[in-house]
């Protein structure tokens, strides 16, 4: 076991998979010589050469479209989108092409690609370097979406994604890249897609969340202990498909739930979680399903505004107190 950062875990996952399987290639803007603007692909160009680590033109739809085509011809491409904020030109290729090709060919074609994209606020990136985009892709049957938050999960899930037969959107919270460290085993492992993880056991309230907010929730949980409020932190890890079993098991135990996401509120991924629980666990709920989210605005640049945009420990603590006494 060695301590690694999230970005190191991601880099290692790609390097190891590329060594294991010659059909794995990487393409994107600045991923080659430069090693990626976040250095996620650092060293890959040197090790695997320009044939397998491809600096593409500035064209996100083209990047994903090329990856899709290569996957039709035996490759397992990993396409990097430099910032999730720039993924939207590729929406059509992802949702109308990659995600639908298995269905529209009755399984004759499949599209085993991974689209990696750094997302998330709190790093002074402003309106176009901070967005959460998961909800915009959450409504696409055929797609899988992964949002890891620890080095262990990041590596294991990326490996699983690369080996997966379906298109995967792999979202990396920029703020976890260098801030979050953790142990990673030396030997090869994967983390299964579609399985949530209880990051902290508790029995007062379940906090269902993912990405950077897992760490914020863990911080809040720490502080709430002394008040006798024990949060159970459910890290979804995969948001599509959702591990409803683990979420429900937790809520059946605590009977109260906070759905927490950094993304803007309306139409966020957490809305689906609320909807599922409000339908399936109605008799188990001892209080309203509380959502803590960013407000419905673009992500602002000025530090004062960004500060009030991103949900923080205090929001969770206050909501938990209220809900605990409901």
């Amino acid at each position: 076991m060695a301590e690694k950062t999230v970005i190191e875990a991601i880099r290692e996952a790609m390097a190891e998979e590329m060594r294991r399987d010659s059909s794995v290639i990487v393409l994107g803007e600045d991923v080659g010589v430069h090693g990626g603007v976040f250095r996620a692909t650092d060293g890959l160009y040197k090790e695997f050469g320009p044939n397998r680590v491809i600096d593409t033109p500035l064209a996100e739809s083209g990047i994903v479209g090329t990856a899709i085509g290569a996957s039709f011809n035996g490759m397992r491409p990993i396409a990097e989108i430099q910032f999730a904020d720039y993924i939207h030109p590729a929406m059509d290729q992802i949702m109308n092409e990659a995600a639908k090709v298995r269905f529209r060919t009755k399984g004759a074609f499949s599209c085993p690609i991974v689209v990696r994209a750094p997302y998330g606020a709190g790093i002074h990136g402003g309106i176009y370097h901070s967005q959460s985009v998961e909800a915009l892709f959450y409504h696409i049957p055929g797609l899988k979406i992964i949002t890891p938050c620890t080095p262990y999960d990041a590596k294991g899930l990326l490996k699983a994604a690369i080996r997966d037969e379906d298109p995967v959107l792999y979202l990396e919270h920029k703020k976890t890249y260098r801030r979050i460290k953790g142990e990673i085993p030396e030997q090869d492992y994967t983390v299964p897609i579609g399985v949530a993880d209880i990051k902290r056991e508790g029995d007062t309230i379940s906090v269902v969340t993912y990405g950077m907010m897992v760490h914020v929730a863990l911080g809040a949980a720490e502080k709430l202990v002394q008040e006798g409020i024990s949060l159970e932190i459910v890290d979804l890890r995969t948001i599509l498909p959702l591990d409803t079993e683990t979420v429900k098991r937790s809520v059946k135990k605590t009977n109260k739930v906070i759905v927490l996401y950094e993304d803007t509120r309306t139409g966020g991924v957490g809305a689906e979680i609320s909807a599922i629980l409000a339908e399936d666990l109605f008799d188990h709920l001892d209080g309203p399903i509380v959502r803590i989210t960013a407000p419905d605005t673009p992500v602002p640049y000025a530090p004062t505004l960004e500060e009030v945009f991103v949900p923080n420990e205090q929001h969770i603590i206050e909501a938990a107190r209220k809900l605990a006494h409901y």
Partner: protein, 343 residues
Amino acid sequence: MDSAEETAVVESHQNSRHAELGLSDETVVEMYYRLVQARTVDEKMWTLHRQGKIHFIISCRGQEGIQIGSAFALRRGEDFVMPYYRDTGVALVLGMTPRDLMLSVFAREADPASGGRQMPGHFGYPRLRIITGSSPVATQLPQAAGVALASKIKGEAAVTAVYFGDGATSKGDWHEGLNFAGIHKLPVVFICENNGYAISVPQNKQMAIRDIADRAAGYGFPGIIVDGNDVLASYTVTKQAVQRALKGDGPTFIEAKTFRVAPHSSDDDDRRYRSREEVEEWKRRDPIERFKRYLEEVNLLDDSLDQRIREMVLEEVNEAVDFAEKSPLPSREDLMKYVYYNS
């Protein structure tokens, strides 16, 4: 008469145009057979639509020249082919059968392209290296670059031929696909069936230039104009492009000037946007009639052979319709299948 590969010269007429191209007599007759087959399949589909038996069809009529000519220059099962929705002719030459196509218009479970999940006109067959196509226009362009990129990485001697219309050239994806292929000198043959319209929008509202082929220079590879109603010319430029690609010299852009003489689809009424004179004028330039005249000139076709071919094709197509009509629809229980690998 069943393989596009038999292009070796067998007893060809000396000095004939096709002999000079290295095409055997047998092959050019087969080309004619394919032209008639495509046209017959198309006509049958219109009939089925008028009879209310099927919901939708999209037509190859008038564009069979470039479709059959270019497809004969591709190596079946070796080269990758990405037809667009109008490419009935391409699909037939590359190995899809009238049965396959009829199963598709009837949306049957046995439809090899989609099991009735997708509208007709969306060809696909992994074994034949016919890459599945979707409806959103031009998405296949970057995908074609990707297929060819994979060939290059694997060191595989395969060309990717990708088809699209004049309207498709306006899309961002078109630009991004050509640009990528140019940069990496990928083995792609871009085949634009310029029929002068994108549904109702005429070429001069689609672009400010006369020859789309001129754009190829902006991507660093040659752009060739061909008369798309001339089967042999279409064959020739495609063959050259394939050879160029196999030599590692990169992509070629082919603009085939042609015309869709039918409405855009069974939902369209083309009298709303173009004159009958224009359509009639192009009907006189029909690629099939023209090729027929050629074969008659070189004494490879007479009325009786023509008759035989037409009967053969019709029988085959009628049989395909019967077969498809009797074939079962997808079963309701299977809706959720094929969304994910293990669903």
